[in-house]
């Protein structure tokens, strides 16, 4: 598990080629114009990148997270926006695989795994971010239907997705009162509000969802009533591995640019990598990335082995995204003034890295999870 298996190496190479040819040409322009292209996502799907861990029965590759992280890393090296896109469209897939009934799986999984359908995950709200269990969007039973009302904030793929997994309150306050629903993108009563203007990850659309008497059949409920937070949080456990892998791809891309530049750029008649101040910075970047990569590999391996992985996934998300922030920031430093210009990609990497410390549970929340686990373990 420390190095790529033959299959992982083959998938890495194919994912690299696909990402470079599909995403490479427009990555800079799309960042500047904040453009998301569903056709590019579909092309990633055509190349087989959108359903790595979904079973073959439902059109996926039937592989593990150990393979999924390799693919995400390679996409992220070219565009972290699209690595996140693949990861987010993967959330409904893990949820359906774990909690969907046969009819729900048959209806949605093959399209999602093929990248023909785009998936989204709607938990956050204006007044409930980290404290997701306090969400206030409601779903009220009416005959054979549920009627949804409320607002979701920060939803990746909002307005673009074909299917949303939506957490809404069906019962009393707190986590136990929340249920999960499958809501199609064209459902009546679902509309889209503001698209966020972001610092980074600008090719990835982040949009407000507005539910106004949005009616879905009761068969749209995932798992059981009152299990919505359980569904959401278990998906986020897996999601943390994917965000961590995306962060590693970003770090690798930044290190590649910085290390190459440091061997080419000369000042005081020396390659700047020969100045200890620069060389050691690159050494730390490489060592931090390698450590983060091992953590992510371990989290993926535990998940693939069917062992409990949420603590390691929280560590992996924390370390990989903090590393990405540091590595991309230092990459800008290594490139000096050039690094600060949009001529080089490292400023984009730095802007993209920041959001990784915020999504799928902020890094404070990861620490909270870890501290709670420690307390449970050491409390007398």
């Amino acid at each position: 598990m420390f190095v790529d298996t033959e299959t992982q190496a083959d998938l890495r190479e194919a994912a690299r080629q696909a990402a470079e040819s599909i995403l490479g040409p427009s990555v800079k322009a799309d960042d500047e114009s904040e453009t998301y292209r569903k056709d590019l996502f579909a092309a990633l799907g055509e190349a087989g990148l959108c359903g790595v861990s979904t079973s073959e029965e439902f059109g996926g590759l039937g592989l593990g997270y150990s393979e999924y992280i390799v693919v995400l890393e390679e996409i992220a090296k070219v565009s972290s926006s699209y690595a996140v896109s693949v990861a987010v469209s993967g959330l409904p897939q893990v949820i359906l695989a774990a909690y969907g009934n046969q009819a729900q799986k048959e209806k949605w999984l093959p399209g999602l795994a093929a990248g023909e359908l785009l998936g989204a995950f709607a938990l956050s709200e204006p007044e409930s971010g980290s404290d997701a269990g306090s969400l206030s969007t409601t779903a009220v039973r009416d005959g054979d239907d549920f009627v949804l009302n409320g607002t979701k904030f920060w939803i990746t793929h909002g307005g673009y997705a074909d299917i949303y997994v939506v957490m809404a309150r069906t019962g009393g306050p707190g986590s136990k009162g929340v249920s999960a629903f499958l809501v199609p993108g064209d459902a009546e009563g679902l509309s889209f509000g503001k698209k966020e203007e972001k610092m980074g990850m600008r090719a990835s659309p982040t949009v407000e969802l507005i539910f106004e008497d949005c009616r879905v059949p009761a068969s749209s409920m995932l798992h059981n009533e009152g299990q919505g937070m359980h569904v959401a949080l278990s998906a986020l456990d897996s999601g943390r591995i994917t965000i961590a892998a995306t962060a590693n791809g970003l770090s690798q891309a930044a290190l590649d640019v910085a290390a190459k530049y440091a061997t080419e750029r000369r000042q005081f008649r020396k390659q700047i990598i020969d100045f200890q101040g620069v060389g050691f910075m690159l050494a730390d970047m490489a060592a931090d990335l390698e450590a983060a990569r091992l953590l992510v590999r371990k989290a993926a391996w535990l998940k693939d082995e069917g062992q409990s992985f949420s603590t390691i996934a929280a560590m992996a998300k924390l370390k990989a995204t903090d590393t990405a922030m540091k590595v991309t920031t230092d990459a800008v430093q290594v490139l000096g003034g050039y690094g600060y210009t949009r001529e080089y990609p490292v400023e984009r990497f730095m802007r993209d890295a920041k959001v990784m410390q915020i999504v799928e549970g902020t890094n404070q929340i990861q620490r909270l999870v870890l501290a709670r686990a420690l307390k449970r373990k050491y409390e007398a």
């Binding site: 299959t7 083959d10 998938l11 190349a47 087989g48 790595v52 590759l61």
Partner: protein, 267 residues
């Protein structure tokens, strides 16, 4: 109609080639191997003919050792939608074959596999011989159309555009039972998809030896070779360029003219 595509394993085009100690070949330790780039055009053309339902099936054929299997699998992965068959031609008796020996082996395989149209690269980028396809066509007594950059197949015949250089294009018609060598510009070869790679891992590759092909072992291999390789040598280093110094452009031009006349003796 059955399409055959020849795939040759060659060092990646950006490899740094080193010659081995006794000058009998190149050092292969650090070489990354890939499908000969011109063969990729042939492969893509074959896949498209099957996808377009113009041809019924696709057979990938490679003459090479066990290590060539990775290249055949790459071909299967790319052509996964055309469900290609794959054959590797390998036998101790084949070792040391010259291009004619290789052509005999391949021609026998084309016959045994019942190939109608054989597509190949216009040359392999390792030794750049461009001999094998022509010899295969000759041995099979079939027409050959070389350096093709546009190909249409309809019914029993094909129309091919050949690159002639200087902007000239030759348009050739031939029965489909032919050998067509493919050039850049014919198409844009696709990459392997992830599902393709996974399916290719499980694919079976047939291995045919001299006996399977009904070949007299005396007609192939080192013993039958009429061409032998002397020694491998790298081309001489190019002399480094010269930067002309001078106070201004006029002075530099004057110096350049002097050098061209007195040193290079081209003026």
């Amino acid at each position: 109609m059955k399409i055959g595509v020849l795939l040759k394993q060659v060092p990646a085009s950006d490899s740094r080639i080193k010659i081995n100690g006794d000058q009998t070949g190149i050092v292969t330790d650090d070489i990354k191997w890939e499908i000969n780039p011109y063969d990729e055009f042939a492969l893509e053309a074959g896949i498209q003919l099957v996808e377009g339902k113009i041809a019924s099936s696709l057979v990938l054929i490679s003459l090479g050792g066990k290590d060539a299997e990775a290249r055949i699998k790459d071909g299967i992965a790319r052509g996964v939608k055309a469900k290609p068959e794959a054959i590797r031609l390998d036998d101790a008796a084949f070792a040391g074959s010259d291009p004619l020996g290789e052509a005999r082996i391949i021609a026998a395989a084309i016959q045994k596999a019942g190939i109608d149209l054989l597509l190949t690269g216009k040359q392999a980028i390792d030794d750049d011989n461009a001999q094998v396809p022509a010899m295969v066509a000759e041995l099979l007594d079939r027409p050959q159309v070389t350096f093709v950059e546009q190909l249409e197949v309809a019914g029993d015949s094909l129309t091919a555009h050949r690159v002639m250089g200087g902007g000239q294009v030759d348009v050739v018609m031939s029965p489909v039972q032919a050998v067509v060598t493919c050039d850049k510009g014919l198409n844009s070869p696709r990459f392997a998809s992830l599902p393709g790679i996974m399916k290719a891992k499980r694919a079976k590759i047939a291995v045919w030896g001299a006996a399977d092909l009904g070949l007299d072992a005396g007609t192939v291999g080192a013993g039958a070779a009429v061409v032998s390789e002397g020694a491998y040598r790298l081309p001489a280093d190019r002399p480094s360029g010269k930067i002309i110094e001078g106070a201004d452009a006029a002075a530099k031009v004057k110096e350049l003219v002097r050098l061209l006349r007195d040193e290079a003796k081209v003026l």
